[in-house]
């Protein structure tokens, strides 16, 4: 009887474990599918605001523009059609609100019933015009020519240098500054955290006496438990003014501030994993080295570090992964200007910060929304590569050990 009950309980527990395992994997897979499906619709669309078109005079030779050109035209940076492949004529901007400059309100009509005709007349009469008008106001008799804006491509997205997702009339999605900003901050964070973390790990594992070790270890693990927004706040109030005054900069919110904060945040990961790796060095190896006459430091550098190198690398890569995906702290200290990074002492904008800051107000299902999901996919691919690298290295570690 007892046997049967314990058998049943065993089966139930096995089933529960099996169910929770499969639920977790299904959730992970669903999240990934969701991420990619939400972002998938972005490419191949025209970046013009929905419900609007760009129109030019019939005599205009220009038939299509890139998104960046359109943005520069509407910002008043490009003022002549010659620059975008047209004839030598100055560009005149026209938005719906400008209609009152050309017609009185009576001419437009009380319920805007003559508006389409008025717009058509304006576009027809000015050869250099570029008009940004609602589709509903351009009927069959519309005298202008619709201007095509180049469709979004993967290449433009990954290598474009302008990130203006809410620009009117045409949004510009160039994610290169964001990609580089993410790498820039993460790489310098790791350059700062790796030597420091490694030194601490060696100290804790090999040098420190047990009392110091018992104090240091929990303190470092505590670092991992501090919420990232607290790190961000600390960065904004302490690190940012400090950097500003030390380097005599006009502004302290820089990639450097982000790197320092991320470095501090990556430290616990690096220290804990490297320390574990160092501790796994077999006692026999250490003793053999000491017996051959090597002193403690020689043993550390010639025997222990080479033996645990793959574990240390795994720790460093996981630290990088943490830095790449970190959002809140970076959002608060890097200034978030979407410019191509040139030096460390300039504001940058990272991918996670962009997603966190922009998703709240992006119209759901719109182009901007989808572009943020694509950014999420890019981030996912990067961290997946990082994790695969860890897997590869620790597998090599096992082979070496056996």
């Amino acid at each position: 009887m007892k046997k049967i009950i314990s058998y049943i309980i065993n089966r139930i527990i096995t089933a529960l474990l099996y169910i929770s395992g499969s639920i977790t994997s299904i959730i992970v897979i669903l999240i990934v599918i969701f991420l990619f499906s939400e972002g998938a619709g972005m490419f191949g669309q025209e970046p013009t605001e929905k419900g609007f078109i760009l129109a030019v005079n019939k005599t205009n030779k220009v038939s299509h523009l890139s998104a960046e050109q359109t943005k520069l035209i509407f910002d008043g940076e490009i003022t002549n059609w010659q620059k975008v492949g047209g004839k030598n004529d100055s560009i005149i901007l026209f938005r719906m609100d400008n209609i009152t400059d050309y017609f009185t309100e009576e001419q437009i009509g009380e319920n805007f019933e003559h508006l389409p005709a008025c717009i058509s007349k304006v576009v027809d009469s000015i050869p250099g015009i570029i008009a940004f008008v609602g589709k509903t106001y351009t009927d069959k008799n519309f005298a202008g020519k619709e201007l095509k804006v180049d469709k979004l491509t993967v290449r433009d997205f990954l290598f474009g240098q302008l990130w203006f997702p809410t620009a009117h009339p045409v949004a510009v999605f160039g994610a290169l500054p964001l990609l580089l900003g993410t790498f820039w901050v993460s790489i310098f964070a790791i350059l700062f955290a790796l030597p420091l973390g490694l030194a601490t790990a060696i100290y804790i594992a090999e040098v420190a006496n047990p009392v110091v070790r018992n104090i240091l270890k929990p303190v470092i693990e505590l670092l991992a438990g501090i919420p990232s927004v607290v790190y961000g706040f600390f960065g904004l109030v302490v690190v940012v003014p400090f950097i500003q005054s030390v380097f005599n900069l006009p502004v302290g919110e820089t990639a450097f501030a982000g790197s320092i904060i991320l470095g501090i945040m990556a430290l616990p990961t690096i220290i804990t994993i490297s320390e574990d790796a160092i501790r796994t060095t077999p006692r026999s190896m250490k003793e053999a080295s000491l017996a051959l006459g090597a002193n403690h430091w020689q043993t550390i550098f010639r025997v222990i570090l080479p033996y645990s190198s793959s574990g240390i690398t795994a720790g460093a890569i996981l630290g990088i992964g943490r830095a790449i995906g970190e959002t809140m702290a970076v959002l608060m200290v890097t200034g978030n200007a979407a410019v191509m990074p040139h030096t460390l002492l300039e504001p940058v904008r990272t991918i996670p910060a962009t997603i966190a800051a922009e998703l709240g107000e992006a119209p759901q299902g719109g182009l901007h929304y989808e572009s943020l999901f694509i950014l999420g996919c890019v981030l996912f691919l990067i961290t997946m590569l990082v994790n695969l690298a860890v897997e590869f290295i620790s597998r090599r570690n096992k082979r070496v050990a056996s």
């Binding site: 419900g51 009117h168 302290g252 608060m332 979407a338 800051a357 107000e361």
Partner: protein
């Protein structure tokens, strides 16, 4: 016995909930105001129940589309995209202005500059003016702070002050108004824009002129009498079919009592009709 009483109370309170509950969602700018209004409203009508969540104007409007909220707060007008979507979903909506919000342009207190024209501000934010000496200040690089591109404040400032031109990409985008105040107060060459309600501490407001002649400092008085130019409306949007549910609360906000709370929070009340 106690169980039965408990369940009766539970059912009773639930049915009460259904009768007068309304869900409000949207702009984080409107959130503190609407929360305060809801508290006062609940004190006056104890049976009413109002749930308010933030998330941003876009989130509120999306919730209005799928019907998961009754009233959406927005610090910007509906975008064409959203209007078309509401139309496609066959929903007719109504727009109500609940209050106004004024934006002040702030600089570090150490800055000599006290007034700017709209054209100068446009130059600064589009990256054409890069040094304070070009607008009558010291020889100091200008550090331009802006809100995130997703915020209603960003759109409004762009429309009203930059005349729809895009911000320079060198602008520093801050996630929250508080962060702008903090950064401007600790950066000598900084310029930023914040809601009138956030004007506090170690920052200096700039007098602004749109015509190049009369400069007006932002304050509650100049914002109410519309002499200060950078004022924006805060909106409610709701589905026409839900009008019965949301009307009492909206009427309360628009009443003299509600508008007094608007002023108390630091927003600009609507001009008395």
């Amino acid at each position: 016995m106690t169980k039965r009483i408990l369940s009766i109370v539970l059912i009773f309170s639930l049915s009460l909930h259904i009768a007068t509950a309304q869900k409000i969602k949207g702009s984080d700018t409107c959130l503190p105001l609407v929360q305060k209004e809801a508290e006062a409203f609940k004190k006056k009508f104890p049976t009413s129940s109002i749930t308010i969540t933030g998330g941003g104007s876009g989130v509120g409007i999306a919730a209005l589309m799928d019907g998961s909220c009754d009233l959406s707060m927005s610090s910007r007008k509906l975008k064409m995209d959203e209007k078309l979507k509401l139309q496609d979903a066959g929903k007719s909506y109504k727009e109500v202005i609940m209050a106004n919000d004024a934006l002040s342009v702030i600089v570090n207190p150490a800055n000599k500059v006290t007034q700017l024209t709209r054209v100068q501000i446009e130059g600064i934010y589009t990256g054409k003016i890069k040094n304070w000496k070009e607008v009558g200040g010291d020889d100091l690089a200008i550090v331009v702070y802006s809100r995130e591109s997703s915020s209603g404040t960003y759109e409004f400032f762009k429309e009203k002050v930059l005349m729809n031109k895009n911000y320079a990409s060198t602008c520093l985008n801050m996630p929250a108004t508080g962060a702008i105040v903090q950064s401007v107060s600790q950066t000598k060459g900084a310029i930023g824009y914040v809601g009138l309600a956030y004007m506090e501490g170690d920052v200096k407001a700039i007098a602004i002129s749109f015509d190049g002649k009369t400069f007006v400092k932002p304050s509650m008085e100049t914002a109410i009498n519309k002499t200060y130019p950078i004022v924006r409306p805060l909106f409610f949007y709701y589905n026409v079919t839900k009008e019965k549910t949301v009307k009492p609360f909206i009427d309360y906000i628009l009443s003299a009592e509600g508008q007094a709370i608007v002023k108390q929070i630091g927003y600009v009340p609507l001009a008395a009709k």
